[in-house]
Symmetry: C2
Subunit: 205 residues, 2 copies
């Protein structure tokens, strides 16, 4: 493998190459880039990442990442507190927020139930979700989980826990994506998109 003329360089390249999707060649390019800049650039880079990792908090209500004990979404009085969108991870929150189509709050499970991976309900934030539904008089739970057996198991488990409550349970719509090719869609998706067909007015205005 590529020989480098300095162990300091070698170590820095190895650290970058630990990151997902970054190989040794890309890592070297990034390190040589930092080497060309002022020392302050690398100091700021390292300090900012360490500060982020050490100081970032998770919202005590929804487990989204947050600068404080309660995240900006839960703290926002304009968001509907009686609607909770249940997602697997933080990235899903960011993706849904970027659509600007959702005005309720979130609940980040931290994963989905997957016995094969040793993930049971107790590893997830399900208990506190159930508490929130009780306390905040939640009227709708929107599940936005990936459509896998594990996702369905998770929905089923939570649904059973909430059976006694008067809370509507929905999931995001499945269907053919915009720009997607009908003929390449899998049968499940195509089937769902037909059975859940919508009045045309919603799409063509």
């Amino acid at each position: 493998m590529m020989q480098l003329p300095s162990s300091l360089l070698e170590n820095a390249v190895a650290e970058f190459a630990k990151l997902p999707g970054i190989g040794k060649k890309t890592a070297l390019r990034l390190v040589l880039h930092l080497l060309k800049q002022e020392k302050g650039v690398t100091t700021l880079f390292g300090d900012t990442l360490q500060k982020m990792r050490n100081e970032i908090q998770f919202c005590q209500k929804c487990y989204n990442i947050s600068d404080g004990t309660i995240c900006s979404i839960c703290a926002n009085s304009g968001r509907q507190k009686d609607t909770i969108c249940v997602v697997e991870n933080i990235r899903d929150v960011i993706a849904i927020e970027n659509t600007q189509q959702y005005h309720g709050t979130y609940h980040v499970l931290g994963g989905i139930i997957s016995p094969l991976d040793g993930i049971g309900p107790e590893q997830l934030t399900i208990e506190s979700l159930v508490e929130r539904v009780h306390k905040d008089k939640v009227t709708e739970l929107v599940f936005a989980l990936n459509p896998t057996i594990q996702g369905d198991t998770t929905i089923y488990y939570i649904q059973k826990k909430l059976a006694s409550l008067n809370c509507r349970i929905t999931t995001i719509a499945r269907g053919i994506a915009f720009g997607g090719e009908l003929e390449y869609a899998d049968e499940m998706t195509l089937g769902k998109s037909i059975s859940n067909r919508q009045p045309i007015g919603q799409y063509i205005k």
Copy 2:
């Protein structure tokens, strides 16, 4: 643009996105990866990069990167001190070292003469190269610069400085790369590869 739920996260993503070839989406993926790992992983990452940037040195002879005042190539008694390969930057040294075909020493110019970019001979390490040629009784200077007008200008300038000395000046061979298609080669390269044709014994053994 993508809204993030935390300014700490936002700052960390912005830092990664400053690196060449890393966009905001990739930056977010890298930061969320660090967030999933133990805090120690990020601490080590930041510390290693900062240590590299602050402690790395440049060889006082050849300006290659080095852990000490003299790099491992210049310090190696097995390398021919009377042959110097002149390159633009450190990456070129790494590339040539990896071929294991060169047994002399290097001289890193730190760039090439390019008046349009405001880079003149005094911004480069040319003066100390001339000194080395005098002091170390160098018999051959191998130029491994990119074949551009700037590269040629740089060679011409250095050559003139050394005109009084009995030092052979060569450049790396230009020609059709292994695996390259003859018909797609530019005229300059193809022309050079014909005029500098080699006895067949060197390639087919």
